[in-house]
């Protein structure tokens, strides 16, 4: 994959979107380089399925391309708009598909392995355990936790994305973290977090 155009890195998202609407193909590439990893990451965390997350990310980016000619300056941050579209697409997906989420206890256990591979396997096990615990959470809590703790967004932006108040975001985050802690409690030793 070719690297992003260096000159485009300092251009604001909104300017790139307008350049795209004017027919600039390089603007499309620059926007895709910036936006696709973000939308793919949140969709993967929220859905827990890479293939579905790729479909959602592609659809979200398609909606961005389509909205470009009608984008009004200052109406919103492009990233905020894109996160909101992505979250709504994720909700549509989870409502359509059958409830086949991975139970926390079904997440892979750290297997016996040769010395040297243990850390890698433990990291994988921790990643899988967190993903499984996220999928146990109610959808809105999961979205809030992903946006706050994995995408590191501020609460006001999360509130705008989810269409709720900042106080509601704080509540979602608090309940989400409690849920995750409870879900991961019995895997604590397996994941290498011994109580001393």
């Amino acid at each position: 994959m070719s690297r992003p155009v260096p000159a485009a890195q300092s251009v604001p998202d909104e300017t790139l979107l307008m350049q795209f609407a004017s027919g600039d193909r390089r603007a499309a590439r620059a926007l895709a380089d910036r936006m696709l990893p973000r939308t793919l990451a949140v969709a993967t965390r929220v859905l827990g399925d890479r293939a579905e997350a790729e479909d959602v990310a592609q659809e979200a980016m398609l909606r961005l391309w389509r909205v470009a000619p009608d984008w009004r300056t200052g109406q919103a941050q492009v990233t905020t708009w894109l996160y909101r579209v992505t979250m709504n697409l994720c909700i549509d997906r989870t409502r359509r598909r059958s409830r086949g989420s991975v139970a926390l206890d079904d997440a892979p256990e750290p297997a016996d392995a040769a010395p040297g591979a243990v850390e890698q396997m433990q990291a994988t096990a921790r990643h899988d355990a967190l993903q499984a615990a996220l999928l146990v959470l109610p959808e809105r809590q999961r979205q809030a936790v992903v946006l706050r703790h994995l995408e590191e967004l501020g609460n006001p932006e999360i509130a705008e994305i989810l269409g709720v108040s900042v106080e509601a975001v704080e509540s979602l985050l608090a309940r989400g973290k409690r849920g995750l802690t409870a879900a991961l409690a019995k895997r604590r030793d397996d994941l290498g977090y011994q109580d001393d």
Binding site: A21, R25, A28, A32, P37, E54, Q58, R66, H127, L130
Partner: protein, 142 residues
């Protein structure tokens, strides 16, 4: 146990590891996304075309990239053409206007001439008014 160890939060550690292992977009996905972008741009170009002859000549004369420049110039037309059903709708509207103008210039022989009807009506009214004035003058002159 030290304070530092007491403050260690496994959940925060898991978050940090997950942030470090962010899912990357694959090349095929990036290519699909860019293909979508290209398709949307192409659709915008074909939606904005065809420009009028003068604009097309101006676009030809303004050098490389001039086709896209002409697309930008036609952005203001897009809402109007979309409201009227696109370029097909605009074509229908133009044909209807031309038909109306032609009927006005050369109406079918079986139709009454509206201009003539109006003229006759005004002529009758003028004659009546002239008679009224003549009678008033005759009465005044005795």
């Amino acid at each position: 146990m030290t304070d530092k160890q007491d403050k260690f939060d496994p959940l925060e550690d898991l978050f940090a590891q997950a942030r470090a292992a962010r899912p990357e977009a694959s090349d095929p996905l990036m290519q699909r996304v860019l293909a979508d972008a290209d398709a949307v741009q192409q659709a915008a170009v074909s939606e904005a075309a065809p420009p009028v002859v003068g604009e097309r000549a101006a676009a030809r004369n303004s050098g490389p990239g001039s086709v896209l420049a002409s697309v930008v110039r036609f952005d203001w037309l897009r809402p109007l053409t979309q409201a009227l059903g696109g370029w097909a709708g605009m074509g229908g509207l133009a044909a209807a206007c031309a038909t109306g103008v032609w009927i006005g210039i050369a109406p079918p022989a079986t139709w009454p001439d509206p201009a003539m009807l109006v003229w006759q009506d005004q002529s009758g009214l003028d004659l009546f008014q002239d008679q009224e004035v003549a009678l008033i003058w005759a009465a005044e002159e005795g």
